[in-house]
């Protein structure tokens, strides 16, 4: 299979303009004849559904939550990047592009990333117009903060709840279109499969999560905006319901899955406390603006943090990376935390934590200013740990947070199945091997507000609406497969709960496919996951019926898909004999323990094709060409 990314011609900065100027259009009077399906209502899904409806298309919008406003974008805290250069500190579209492509360790496409940087400025304008209350200066202008991996202040924020405010903006735009009759909403619906007719994505099969009814929906194109697969690790910062099913089912219908091993471990999360733990809570990376990361210099130092004098503390990020200090990118910060913990210098009861200390910042700025900047984060930390971060340093440790990998898409965000698009975190396109902070919100909204409204027309213009009937044979066949699978999950009636299997899978993934990977461990993981999957289908216990609200059944379907995905992630990591960004192979590191890329052999997007349940997936390579930047060893020193 030849992977054609369809990168437009011209200089980097002209590609998107050229594309927009030459793309096929759908006449306004014809747009209302097209039906589109958008799955997911996070930043990418809600903004896409709203924008497409504004253009006149008929949109069906699906989410598994009880309301579109609850999609997990809501939990993003720190902010959103944009190359506005309002601070006069030397920012530009080029610099945001460069930081993003460098932060991604040169494993993303130049053209996509540059478009993202260009659109970043429009996003801020759009959100402000919607009434998103970004932080302001006293003079009424917008305020900015700095974020990891950058040396300029380009992050726009709304206290520590930027994701919430942006999502409520997109949600309000979506609900406005619901009111205008252009969007039909399907909350508490889960997409369980994709229907492909004559090689084109033409619909989905859903389950109504209240009644259990399995239903068919036909459309002229299907847009997935279904988020990442961090819950593969069981413990992650994702919401409990976040899952890979829509992407994974599409993969099994022919969409290629790209760079599955590019998973991001976020450095600042609240450490794990006990076996019962159900999820991990992120503390925004923005905290690293004012907090200082440290551990004791001496191994096994069990004194209270306040009792450890300044000269016996190791501010290891400031020491090792003097120019970026505490603001190194996430992958670097995470790996360094693991390193000091592995040396026996971790803190807290478990030893799996490092300090994030605000004492200096409070001295410098006062408690009130810190409260203004991070109040809700400090409160959240206090609720969870029962410790007051205004008085004692926070304890933090890395946790799975974001997945850069996802469905392969071309420049138009179309997957390898014509008519199937992937937006936001569920695609692979913009962050390479590591995403910089405050870039996920930017990408989700760029894709939804500004990319898909242009690119989808180019496809639809060639495919007249044909009123495909949901009684077509293809719908019948896929629906039957969905029903069979649901029936199978309910009929195993074994002895172990779904959560038990999920926890087990998470342990395997964290141990062997987590922050540091090696050949032996990955091979072991592949074997263990495959055994666990067999056991799941023999011994899982799912009570109740399909024809009711059945949360165990919902979880079972999602975990079954994670049990397949886990193996692909491990295979992807095994194939990539280099370290880059979030993918760290212990065999490939510099003398200073930094990630060692191999541009000679691995400067490609690894896109995997499903070949059957009993077959190995086939690897296709999209070679990455760097025409405008020169990949170099990342240095944040």
């Amino acid at each position: 299979m030849e992977l054609n990314a369809k990168i437009p011609q011209g200089d980097l900065k002209d590609k998107w303009s050229y594309y927009k100027g030459n793309v096929k259009l759908v006449n306004p009077a014809n747009k209302r004849k097209y039906n589109l399906i958008v799955v997911g209502t996070g930043l990418a899904g809600a903004s896409a559904a709203a924008s497409l409806a504004e253009l006149g298309y008929n949109v069906k919008s699906f989410c598994f939550q009880d309301s579109p406003r609850r999609a997990h974008s809501i939990a993003a805290q720190g902010g959103i990047n944009a190359a506005k250069n309002y601070q006069n500190d030397g920012d530009s579209v080029w610099r945001l592009f460069y930081d993003t492509i460098k932060g991604g360790d040169y494993r993303a496409r130049e053209a996509n990333v540059h478009r993202l940087a260009e659109l970043s400025v429009n996003i801020i304008d759009q959100c402000v117009a919607q009434g998103v209350p970004f932080a302001r200066e006293y003079g009424g202008l917008l305020d900015n903060r700095s974020f990891g991996g950058a040396q300029v202040s380009r992050t726009f924020y709304a206290r520590g709840q930027t994701g919430q405010q942006l999502l409520l903006g997109a949600y309000s735009a979506l609900m406005r279109q619901v009111g205008l009759g252009k969007v039909k909403l399907f909350p508490r619906y889960e997409m369980l499969d994709l229907v492909v007719v004559d090689g084109r994505a033409r619909g989905i099969i859903t389950r109504n999560l209240i009644t259990g009814a399995v239903e068919r929906h036909a459309a002229d194109a299907v847009i997935l905006a279904t988020g990442g697969y961090g819950n593969l690790f069981y413990l992650s910062t994702n919401a409990k319901g976040s899952n890979v099913t829509a992407s994974w089912r599409s993969y099994k219908r022919g969409a290629l899955f790209a760079n599955p091993c590019f998973t991001q471990i976020h450095p600042t999360c609240i450490p794990v406390k006990g076996d019962y733990q159900s999820k991990l809570t992120l503390m925004s990376e923005s905290l690293r603006n004012d907090g200082r990361v440290w551990v004791p210099k001496r191994k096994g130092d069990t004194r209270k943090p306040m009792d450890i004098p300044e000269n016996e503390r190791d501010y290891y990020l400031e020491r090792k990376y003097p120019s970026f200090g505490n603001l190194v990118p996430r992958d670097v910060a995470s790996r360094n935390a693991k390193e000091v913990v592995d040396e026996g210098r971790g803190v807290g009861e478990s030893g799996f934590a490092v300090y994030l200390d605000f004492a200096d910042a409070i001295k410098r700025l006062g408690v009130d200013e810190i409260k203004m900047r991070y109040g809700n984060l400090f409160d959240m930390y206090y609720q969870i740990t029962d410790e007051d971060p205004y008085k004692v340093p926070m304890r933090i440790y890395p946790a799975v947070h974001y997945t850069m990998g996802g469905l392969w898409v071309d420049y138009e965000l179309m997957t390898t199945i014509p008519g199937l698009y992937a937006l936001g975190e569920c695609n692979f396109s913009d962050h390479g091997a590591n995403r910089l902070g405050a870039s996920a919100l930017m990408q989700g909204l760029a894709d939804g507000y500004f990319v898909i409204p242009y690119t989808i027309g180019n496809y639809l213009a060639d495919h007249r609406p044909d009123g495909l009937d949901i009684n077509a044979q293809e719908f019948e066949t896929v629906e039957k497969e969905v029903n069979d699978r649901v029936g199978k999950l309910l009929s195993v009636n074994g002895s172990r709960t779904v959560d038990d299997f999920h926890r087990n899978l998470g342990q395997i993934m964290w141990e062997y496919v987590g922050m540091s990977r090696n050949e032996g461990g990955l091979k072991k993981a592949i074997k263990l996951i495959s055994e666990l999957r067999d056991e799941f289908w023999k011994d899982v216990k799912v009570l109740g019926r399909n024809e009711e609200l059945n949360q165990s059944l919902e979880k079972a379907g999602r975990v079954a898909d994670f049990l397949e995905l886990g193996e692909l992630v491990a295979r992807g990591a095994l194939n990539r004999n280099e370290s880059c960004g979030g993918h760290f192979r212990a065999e490939y590191q510099t003398q200073e323990n930094e990630a060692l890329r191999d541009d000679e052999n691995y400067c490609y997007v690894a896109a995997w094709q499903f070949k059957g349940d009993d077959q190995l997936p086939e690897l296709h390579k999209e070679n990455l060409k760097f025409e405008f930047v020169t990949p170099s060893q990342r240095s944040y020193k």
Partner: protein, 254 residues
Amino acid sequence: MSNGKKMNLSLKIWRQADKNSAGEFKDYTVNNVSPDMSFLEMLDVLNEELIIKGEEPVAFDHDCREGICGSCSLYINGRPHGPKRGVTACQLHMRSFHDGQSIVIEPWRANAFPVVKDLIVDRSAFDRIITAGGFVSVNSGGAADANSILISKDDVEYALDASQCIGCGACVAVCKNSSASLFVGAKIAHLSRLPQGSPERHKRAINMIKQMDKEGFGSCTNTEACAAECPKEISMDVIVTMRKEYMKAIKEME
């Protein structure tokens, strides 16, 4: 309060098969509960035990488990989100309870929020209220430069205080009239204070309040229970703003 020791608890939980069935309280016990567990993790443990015994687990809404998605809808010992102020049930930890304690867990109770199953209710009425006017009418593209609109820091902070509503419905659940005024007021206050939301402020107030009444929420009688129990501590001010906006709108219509 706890001192780090494991606790044994008796639970009284509302069980209801679906919206048409009658519900009832059922008694359960959970043992060896760590004070560091979140309330939802305690329910996870109970559900795991129930499944192994072949009994149907308790259905409850939850998602982000970090206090921001607004899915939680548990009425715990007579209070929405339980005994602590300013937190959702997912951020409530078992250290707020003591060994041997009885805990009563119910769904939100309001006509406009019918029970779907066990502790899950249907809050789509909130979505319909937003659909009626909780937005600024702008399409994607074509917005002016963000800094061309000046907004004073005070105004934006006020808007953010209101717009941080998570739409959980605790305000409705605690109100003796099942009024949605705090929820509706929060959105009206958020948008009315900003220049972007001003042109349609009157239409917005009238349409949202009309929809609120249509959904079967009760009237506000100023008991202020909503503000006391709001996990985001949204203030009664937003209800005052809602009324002012409504009165101005009515006057303009005359």
